[in-house]
Subunit: 222 residues, 2 copies
C-alpha cells in the first residue's frame, strides 16, 4: 500500500510550515489541506478533538497533532535524510532549544503583540534576552544542526519570515541585523535553500492578516 499522507495546515502558521519543511526535506509526497481557522473543517475537529488546532498530519488514516510531535514521528517513520541529530546528547540539545522557541520565544512574542507602553517595552527586553540566548546556541555553527539544516533549523524557521513580518506589523524594532548578526547570517543562508523558499509566507498578505487579526482581537477584548 502506498503511503497516504495528508497535512491539515494554515498558510501563515509557522507550526504547519515546520511540518511541510520536514516532509519536503525527506521528499515525502503529501496532500495539503488548507484550514480556515474561523470555520474549522469537521475533519480537523475529528482528527484533533483535544486541541482542535492545526497542524495535523494524517498518515494512512492515523492522525498526529502538535508540530514537534509530528516532526519526531516523521523522522522515525521515514528514516532517510534524518532531521534530528544522531547523538543522544545532540538530540537532547535540539529538543531543549525547540521547546525554548515554543515555550519562551513565541510566548513572549504574544506578550509583545498584546501589550503596549511600559508593559510592551518589558516584553521586548525579555524577547531580546531570549533571542540572544538562541543566538548563542548558533555561534560558531553553519546551521543550528551543523553543516545542513535539521530539526532545530526547521523549528527556528519561524524567525525567517514570520517573525520579521509580525515585528513589522506591530511597528516595533526588536529583531534587527545589527542586534543579531549571527541569526541574520543564518537567515541569509537558509533562504537560499529551495524548500525553505517554497515555504516562505507571502509578505503583504501576511502583514494584512496580522493587522486584521490584531484588530479583531483588540475589539473583542474591549
Amino acid at each position: 500500500m502506498a503511503d497516504e499522507v495528508k497535512l491539515f495546515g494554515m498558510w501563515a502558521s509557522p507550526y504547519s510550515i515546520r511540518v511541510e519543511l520536514a516532509l519536503k526535506l525527506k521528499g515525502i509526497p503529501y496532500e495539503y489541506m488548507e484550514e480556515d481557522l474561523s470555520n474549522k473543517s469537521s475533519l480537523l475537529l475529528k482528527y484533533n478533538p483535544v486541541h482542535k488546532k492545526i497542524p495535523v498530519l494524517v498518515h494512512n488514516e492515523k492522525p498526529i497533532a502538535e508540530s514537534l510531535v509530528i516532526l519526531e514521528y516523521i523522522d522515525e517513520t521515514w528514516r532517510n535524510n534524518p532531521v534530528l541529530p544522531q547523538d543522544p546528547y545532540d538530540r537532547a540539545m535540539a529538543r531543549f532549544w525547540a521547546k525554548f522557541i515554543d515555550e519562551k520565544l513565541l510566548v513572549t512574542t504574544r506578550k509583545v503583540s498584546f501589550t503596549a507602553g511600559k508593559e510592551q517595552e518589558q516584553a521586548i527586553e525579555e524577547i531580546t534576552e531570549q533571542l540572544k540566548q538562541l543566538e548563542n546556541e548558533l555561534q560558531g555553527k553553519e546551521f543550528f544542526s551543523g553543516h545542513s539544516i535539521g530539526y532545530l533549523d526547521i523549528v527556528a524557521n519561524v524567525l525567517v519570515s514570520w517573525f520579521g513580518n509580525v515585528q513589522e506589523a506591530l511597528g516595533v524594532d526588536m529583531f534587527t541585523e545589527e542586534k543579531f548578526p549571527i541569526l541574520f547570517d543564518w537567515i541569509g543562508k537558509v533562504v537560499k535553500i529551495d524548500i525553505v523558499n517554497e515555504c516562505r509566507i507571502p509578505k503583504e498578505k501576511h502583514l494584512d492578516y496580522i493587522r486584521s487579526r490584531l484588530e479583531a482581537l483588540k475589539s473583542a477584548s474591549k
Copy 2:
C-alpha cells in the same frame, strides 16, 4: 570510564520525580542533589543558565534540562527497559499526552491554585474536562504504556500523590475516585510498584509546603 550520573532535583517536584523514576526503571545508579529553590546552588545555575530550574541531569559532566527532554535522553542513552514505546505512532501518542499533561493539565492546576470564587470554579470545570480526556486515553489499558509502566505513566505519575495533595491543600474537590474511576484504578496499580512507592512524596510535609508557598505567593502579590 564508569558513567557519572547526577540529578539536581527537589523532593516535591513532580518533574524531578519523573527523572528519578526513569533512572530507577533502568537501574542506573545516580547521585541525587537536593536543591533549595529559594537559594539555588551555583552548580544548578551553571548547568541550567537558561531556565535556572530543576531537574537537571548531568551525565559525565554534560547537563540536560527539561524533564521530558531528559526522559528521551535517558531512553536513548541506556537502551535496556525501554521507556518510550517502540512503534513510531505509539511514541507520537505518548509524546502528545505528555505535552498535554504539562501544557494543559498542570497549567490549569496553577490556575485553580491562584484563583478563587467564580474564576476558580471555571478552572475546575476546565481541569475536569482535561482529566476526562486523559482518562479516555487510558480506557481499556492496564497502564498508559500497555502491560507495564513506561514514558506516559512516568509523566502521569504527577496524579499519583502530588495532584491529590495539591487538591487537599487547596480544599477543592476536583479529582475523586467517583469522577475518575479509571484513573484511580491506574493509581491503585502504580502505587504497588516498588520504584513508584520509593518516589512518593511524604504527604504531611508536602501539605505544609504547598500551604506555606501559597501563603508566600499570595502575600507577595498583595
